[in-house]
Symmetry: C2
């Protein structure tokens, strides 16, 4: 049941005076429930309670936390239709997507549960003593990984389940033994409250300390700012815009005790298509990419916003066909009127840049909050000298860049900001000449996809979801896959400890 209240540990709370509602973009009306933004006192309570819970939670066994994570997954599934309906009413996304994302969320929780079922994730390492070593005896030193403390997680607008309340950041932090305080995303506060209730039910059922999880509603930026500055908060997980992520990063860096911020931010996910590939299967590629560009109304962080090829007939033909197919796609609803407004503004800003040519645009009237897709093209030289063309347009828009030659193509890749993904579309006959391209592209991205599309992030150990700034604020970590736990841990060493005082994992 949605109450609109915050959850400070297992208590519902609403002491603040600021309220807001979520919005149904498909119906273009406000949803029913009224949410109370967390007050400064509530933020402080949640952080202090998380710190108190940390004293117990950090010493739970991996098996206990695995039971907790699996119970969260079960409780989320128990929410059933109420969750799916709330999700759809707060996002304009279809039921199939809601269920798919729920499946991914539950899968992530269970994969972190499996990870911490035993203590190998702590990377236990033992260097035994050598008492008779010359010139000095060697001590017995044993190391493993321990949690860093309460983590603030910022829900993402575009993934209300998989990157929000019980998403990858929360699952990995809880798995590590870090309590979590979620700053709920205002666009899907109802979905957030339902999932938060599921987490606290699971915490109670599996005997976790009160305060291991809190959920704070927010309309403006105050709750997030206070959380990141709170001395009891020791790390931050964020998925969203460059502007938002950088603001949190800056706040955290200015603290008396700076804390790590893992922010997964913008990306235009360049796709490089060779002439051979265009010649042999340009039409098929146009179909595939029209689908990838418009998937989820272009609201994926791995949406292909930039296609690069060598100028010529093959690229011109492909671009024309891509435009036709993108425009033939029925426009879909965006997450929120603000997101739609951002899409229109950004797309129009890019469109008016010098040298840019519109390839195809959906001109018929669309319903309120629906996004007409668009494809544009530009010469490599114009792209190179105009940083505005390098910026993300969040939505179903893509820019095809006609590079003068191989060397300009590499130069363009080197000029790009850091990206989550890069994609190479090539034929077997190209392989021998792709060395420089792969090497150059690898420096700018976290993952290269070969002959595929960047949309769709597999949750597995080998996945990297992150990349050089601003794809993420710290490229040394991934936000997806079991190694995401490394964001919230630190190494700790025991020297010459008696067995009785060592943790089991190091005995």
């Amino acid at each position: 049941m949605i109450t609109g209240k915050n959850q400070i540990g297992n208590q519902k709370s609403a002491t603040g005076s600021v309220t807001f509602k979520t919005f149904n973009p498909k119906l273009n009306i406000e949803n029913e429930h009224t949410f109370n933004e967390a007050s400064a006192e509530e933020v402080d309570q949640a952080a202090k309670l998380a710190n108190k819970a940390f004293k117990t939670f950090r010493n739970t066994s991996g098996k206990q936390r695995a039971a907790f994570l699996n119970a969260i997954a079960d409780e989320i599934l128990n929410l059933d239709e109420e969750l799916i309906n709330t999700y759809c009413s707060e996002t304009g996304l279809p039921e199939g997507r809601a269920k798919g994302e729920r499946g991914r969320t539950v899968g992530q929780l269970r994969s972190f549960a499996a990870l911490v079922e035993n203590e190998n994730w702590r990377e236990p390492s033992i260097d035994e003593a050598i008492p008779d070593r010359q010139p000095m005896p060697k001590s017995d030193i044993r190391k493993f990984l321990i949690p860093i403390g309460p983590i603030a997680v910022f829900g993402a607008s575009n993934f209300p389940l998989a990157y929000s309340t019980a998403g990858g950041d929360t699952a990995s932090a809880l798995a590590a033994g870090c309590p979590v305080i979620v700053k709920s995303h205002p666009m899907h506060a109802g979905t957030g409250e339902l999932v938060a209730t599921a987490i606290n039910n699971a915490a109670e059922k599996t005997g976790m300390p009160n305060g291991v999880f809190s959920n704070l509603n927010s309309k403006g930026i105050e709750v997030g700012v206070q959380l990141v500055q709170h001395p009891k908060v020791k790390g931050v997980g964020f998925t969203g815009s460059i502007k938002g992520g950088r603001a949190l990063y800056d706040l955290a860096a200015k603290r008396p005790e700076p804390i790590p911020v893992f922010a997964e931010m913008g990306s235009i996910n360049p796709v490089i298509v060779t002439e051979n590939a265009l010649q042999s299967r340009g039409s098929e590629l146009a179909t595939t990419y029209a689908g990838s560009i418009t998937l989820g109304t272009g609201q994926f962080c791995t949406n292909p916003g930039l296609l690069l090829g060598i100028e010529g007939e093959a690229l011109t033909a492909f671009t024309k066909e891509l435009g036709e197919k993108v425009v033939a796609t029925e426009p879909q609803c965006m997450l929120h009127p603000n997101i739609k407004k951002g899409y229109t503004t950004k797309r129009d800003l890019v469109s008016e840049q010098s040298g840019l040519q519109v390839v195809a645009e959906y001109y018929s009237e669309v319903a309120e909050n629906y996004a007409p897709p668009k494809i544009a093209t530009v010469k490599g030289a114009d792209f190179l000298q105009n940083p505005k063309l390098h910026e993300e347009v969040f939505g179903p828009f893509s820019l095809v860049v006609q590079c003068a030659d191989e060397s300009q193509l590499l130069q363009i890749i080197e000029s790009l900001e850091g990206q989550l993904t890069g994609t190479i579309i090539a034929e077997e006959s190209d392989y021998a000449n792709l060395g420089d391209l792969v090497d150059t592209l690898r420096e700018r991205v976290g993952r290269i996809i070969f002959n595929g599309v960047p949309t769709g992030v597999e949750v597995c150990e080998s996945m990297t979801h992150g990349g050089p700034y601003p794809a993420s604020s710290d490229s040394r970590f991934t936000a997806v896959g079991i190694n995401a736990i490394r964001r919230w841990i630190r190494p700790f060493s025991y020297q010459d400890f008696p067995a009785a005082l060592l943790p089991d994992a190091l005995k």
Copy 2:
């Protein structure tokens, strides 16, 4: 041969007009050679050359880099007496220490060479495709670790070899495939130049690209500031003061593209002694700790600056004896007049705080730049309310805190800033009651030593040299041991790559 010039890759260079000399603190005179501070152009040249070298260096095999690291170790040993004599003349440290530190430096280089001899350090991970998975086929995804780019390393005043030019930061960065630009420490610029020459000789002999290593002299802060702000520099390693480390951290965080800074900064390394231990072996402990406090003139980052016990006769007797033994230790020379001045100022500032009592102080006259050791004591309540008493006094000074009871002891530990180490001195009869102490102390430190001294950092896989801020700027990493390589790498994934284009480690 010492020329006083900078080394931009394999070229000696001295275009700047600022010069300086190093200082022999034992003789209290300037050393012979004149050093040229790097000019802004030279800093820029070094960074650009490092970026160029990175394109080749990142693709060298682990075996090639291992040969390079081993060659550096060999070249350092070849410097023989010239290095040892220069080291001693620039630090006032004895020959035995110089040779010991050289051994450690060479050992670190060889341990990173051994680490990258094969590609396991890249943590290769393979998730194979499942083409018939429902509802969607699973892609083939393979991940490993790649270097992040050129690293700026700041030499430490107190370890001219092991934490400077070819120290742990440099060795781990080169092992990962990151070129290194060292900002040489002005107090031992001659030692730095000799080691830099060794590194460049090794680079040439093993076929490494020019620019894989540069060494820049600096007198003031300009060279370091420019390095940390240079767009081609992608990470920073630093060992030194909180003030210096924090300044670099702040600069790096404010860049358009923020970069990671791993700064190992101050620590007072609390030692907790139980009443039982004091009663059964107080005298022996006083001897051991008098040695640890005065070792290397108290100039180790793990120097025990704070001893905590429960007030009473046993602690009083121990403190008295500790004072006597510390004062009986012959005063030793500090690294530099500025270090001596810092010691005197900080020690006197702490000494004048309310409630502080001097236990013992070496009052006889000492030679210029020699440090008279001192022990003081204070009640727990006074310590708790005065943050000035929590600050590091770099040198042979220690403060004994008389805690009212167990609960105040834990409160004091919780009130401390992050530390590199904590130490527990206890008897077997104490073990059953140490749970809370270990748990509380663990939250504030990177390593706990049991019944030993914190001075002496074993170089092994299980070592953690780092800890919560300000012991280090990012507690998620260690500066010592093979895992120090993780500071300079990021995960990267290949999706659906043809075998021909995969790196060998992922085939």
